[in-house]
Subunit: 346 residues, 4 copies
Amino acid sequence: MIKASIIGGTGYAGQELIRILMRHPEVEVVTVGSRSFAGQKFSDIYGNYEGLTDLLCEVSNIQEMAEKSDVVFLALPHGLASKMITEEILEKTKIIDLGADFRLKDALIYEQWYNIEHYNKPLLDEAVYGLCELHRNEIKKARLISNPGCYTTCSILSLAPLIKNKLIDENSIIIDAKSGVTGAGRGTVLDVMYSECNESVKAYKIGEHRHTPEIEQELNLFNGGDFKLLFTPHLVPMNRGILALCYANLTADISLEELKELYKDFYKDEYFVRLTGDKLPETRWVKGSNFCDIGLKIDPRTNRVIVVGAIDNLIKGAAGQAVQNMNISFDLDEKTGIDFITDFPI
Amino acid sequence: MIKASIIGGTGYAGQELIRILMRHPEVEVVTVGSRSFAGQKFSDIYGNYEGLTDLLCEVSNIQEMAEKSDVVFLALPHGLASKMITEEILEKTKIIDLGADFRLKDALIYEQWYNIEHYNKPLLDEAVYGLCELHRNEIKKARLISNPGCYTTCSILSLAPLIKNKLIDENSIIIDAKSGVTGAGRGTVLDVMYSECNESVKAYKIGEHRHTPEIEQELNLFNGGDFKLLFTPHLVPMNRGILALCYANLTADISLEELKELYKDFYKDEYFVRLTGDKLPETRWVKGSNFCDIGLKIDPRTNRVIVVGAIDNLIKGAAGQAVQNMNISFDLDEKTGIDFITDFPI
Amino acid sequence: MIKASIIGGTGYAGQELIRILMRHPEVEVVTVGSRSFAGQKFSDIYGNYEGLTDLLCEVSNIQEMAEKSDVVFLALPHGLASKMITEEILEKTKIIDLGADFRLKDALIYEQWYNIEHYNKPLLDEAVYGLCELHRNEIKKARLISNPGCYTTCSILSLAPLIKNKLIDENSIIIDAKSGVTGAGRGTVLDVMYSECNESVKAYKIGEHRHTPEIEQELNLFNGGDFKLLFTPHLVPMNRGILALCYANLTADISLEELKELYKDFYKDEYFVRLTGDKLPETRWVKGSNFCDIGLKIDPRTNRVIVVGAIDNLIKGAAGQAVQNMNISFDLDEKTGIDFITDFPI
Amino acid sequence: MIKASIIGGTGYAGQELIRILMRHPEVEVVTVGSRSFAGQKFSDIYGNYEGLTDLLCEVSNIQEMAEKSDVVFLALPHGLASKMITEEILEKTKIIDLGADFRLKDALIYEQWYNIEHYNKPLLDEAVYGLCELHRNEIKKARLISNPGCYTTCSILSLAPLIKNKLIDENSIIIDAKSGVTGAGRGTVLDVMYSECNESVKAYKIGEHRHTPEIEQELNLFNGGDFKLLFTPHLVPMNRGILALCYANLTADISLEELKELYKDFYKDEYFVRLTGDKLPETRWVKGSNFCDIGLKIDPRTNRVIVVGAIDNLIKGAAGQAVQNMNISFDLDEKTGIDFITDFPI
């Protein structure tokens, strides 16, 4: 059994992680750390665990956790993980960080988008960007896995085959993404009060969202370029799910059928990427699962390609992918414990 | 492996059943019958199954299904199952009927509430009412299990300990229940169009809902009485979940703590009934699970007891309990394949 | 033109009041007081007012407001209004208080349910309970009008004709009410975060909600009794609306048709009470309006009557009724400025 | 008083129109035509009208309506209005058509996008495209006003100043729009059943939605060009509202402040267009109103401009604009009867 600890276990992503790990056949949850709820029973914070666990939230001590765990998951606001993780800790345990601190390889870009100093530049090189479908081999050997963001997972998987095959003008990329409200976390902020965001839709941080440079970093790896794209997130009145519409100008002369074949080929070994064929992805079909659904469309009138990606922001966009990374890292079948079929309608 | 077939697999309850059975470690889904979608791929009807199954919907032939299945589940509108099931079929396979045809023991009451003739009175005696927590021993031996309704499961489990212990005036019982919209099924009816039922709440069929006699039948079994109760259902703008508020006048002098102990004792061996202690049940904590959460309150000002029950209408209220019945029937651990922790927030 | 000021104008009820008053043909809004937002433009707090008003929120000075206003509305948490209002102020202006401080005539009961001392007992006698349909004549002459609560308005109007006509056992009354989320106000509390209350329903404060004694006080006025009732509120995932199911045992031998006639007669002069005849009220039909819809049902099996009431909690349950009180008080047509037809589907 | 009749009064847009007209100080509703509900009381179809009107739905006879009405509104599926309207009718009454039949000036384009023959080509030239802010002078003189679509109103108003001032590469325009569910109408279709579209978001008809050529037609009028754009609609789980994100590559060297000034100037006389300054539009602030809110953003990294437009699809996107057209047409103050402040939170 893999002994796992979680720091930041009472946010939405942390809680989802604990839920998955509690039913994972190869994992034992050892410790749950939570600043805000230390001393409380986990089932008192989240009523779905009533009668199912005696877990107590503890003040997080990463040293102790590292001693007694095979893997420590961190689900923290940015700026905290980079202070906690040291060479010494990495010698004792694997780290899977669900936060943003080790996603961007360039500390300058991090500092520019996050407006704080990066506290652990030496580890940036070692950290592996844990987008499983693209970095599986590095993940296998990594001590420190930086789990991707939710918007980024969906956007990168949607665009990767187009970029790799040089079919589009990279400078024409626009990503218009929509997210459910859990994406904003569990903080009691006016904007995500029920009556403030229910029955309304809005765009926010147009061109300024922190997932932008992360998407650019990963997509530029394919061709060694340095293109920029425009990313627009939206808040949609639903609990979960991300839908990303990725627009780009086609530079190649390619038919929709050829494009679909090319995507099929690119993802032929990937269980968690599903191509939706003649249909378009909808968040309801991936909610509660670790799947990323991808659909394709060509607009012949404007010679554009539109890729539609859909994931569950808390699963493939956070906790599910974290466990997928753990499975890869511990040489388990990648699907173990995360092979959920979406419950519908839920 | 238990070979299972489903008739009526494309309604919400049928689909939920297939989802559960597909991940059940001891079950193989053999046939899915669907009048409306015969010939279509199941994954074309429900996009969550994309890439996960090649199941085709077939015209239901219960004879053939009975030959090749260890158990056949029926999820049909009332009046159909009673025509299909025969002695001959019951000799070949077990039947778990999610519909209403065999729930009421008294054909006259059935005919009065359902406004149609009962087509199979001889089997009424044999059919076992599959409320697992109350009829486990009969379920073990049954050939024909009649799976309870959603409102009824929640209401009966909430009230049983009170009735059995003769703590209340049975004639004072009022059940005020609230259901999510999936309770209405997948028919394209104006009332359950998004913009018609979203952002609104309503009561319907006050005192006239067909689950009323079912609740009365089961609760009257405890004391051999014949009391009547008032049952009021509501439609609440959410996909899933039932919350039942059960009101009754206390006749015994009992404290809240004593009452809680009594419930604890009554359900001490029941994994799927959870008592929420000082908190009250909320549907969000049971959604997607097979649990029935029960909370208790006494109003000293009016000397009333209020029992609050919560379930997922499609799981403990339909497909989950059907599988629980199957597990009991095939002598498996009752939790097998249905031990879900609620995914939250979803 | 009636000069009106509002203290506590940035909560949901206060804001709704300002919206109504801004379009009221006989009113000019003079001052908006807001502790939390003093100095800010009202349209910066609520984007619906963009371009429509230059109103600035000010620190509330009730003395100054009283000098320059014909009426001052207070929309404050309990315990504040009773400290602000003095004899001197009432000599200068009329007060319509949307809070709870002057609703209960008995200071002891107030102190018991609100857990604080009552700061202004001398004015309790003078204050008029502003349920327009029941106290119109007193409202006309009042200097201090205490606007009823939302649950209470709906419950009292639903039950009044039954009580007055002595048709029920008063001790059998149970009110099971459901409210939209705006009823909880605009405070950033975990329970009313989108992902915490969306897609779920719960009961809360069973038998302990502060509107209980208010309903009892008003209904006991009819027969000079002292009966107690059980009131249960629920939180439903929708922005607005209250639905109250009122249950009682019939003591009279009365048919449904006779009962309907009796209600028709009771409310024959009331524009804002609508009897729904053969249909039952639903919150969608009253949302955004000042109507209270009432429907009736008799359950012959248990000899109970069920009255269903529906209102918009922020309009007939707060701001709309406050303006109705103002209209009565200033001898305007009672409908002026509040004769809204529900916008549907919204 | 203007005598008004409505054909197709029981769909969502027709009903909204009747609601507005019933409270319009200069209008009397004479006849409501409805194929599906002929003979029924309007208040039996829509419960919000309970007690407020005796209107009966009638079989639509446009000849009779034309005789006794000053204006006839049509709210019909495409292909019907073009068959009904004749020269003879236009001599008797003004027509405001909320459907699509007279929006596209080029019958070939109509036939290509709507897949049916156009039944009334001779009237295409006379019909005036009723986007009030752009065609006010023609509307004043028109006998036949073709009310714009919902997506189109929002998209055209958002982009017009950019196009007119030649600030962008017109071939780079992408419109990513999101709509509430009422946009799909009141037909009982599976896709808009509550449990099918609740808690999910999807794109549909990418590049193929019929509002595309309408937007192109109007925007190309400014510079006499023939550019094509890509339009993508989405279904969002909310009753009302449209949010359109309009992306384009800047060709001019212009600052955000200059751009805002330019929009201010363009819309300086328009009451119903509001510029949101430093904030971005959200549908909650326009819902229930006739406003179109517009916000602007420049992304310096990719040299793109993003215009965000928001309207209520049933008001400014349908019934409200139809009444605005009527007001212009009958020389009333343009705001008469449609100067609503959004009710919030609703």
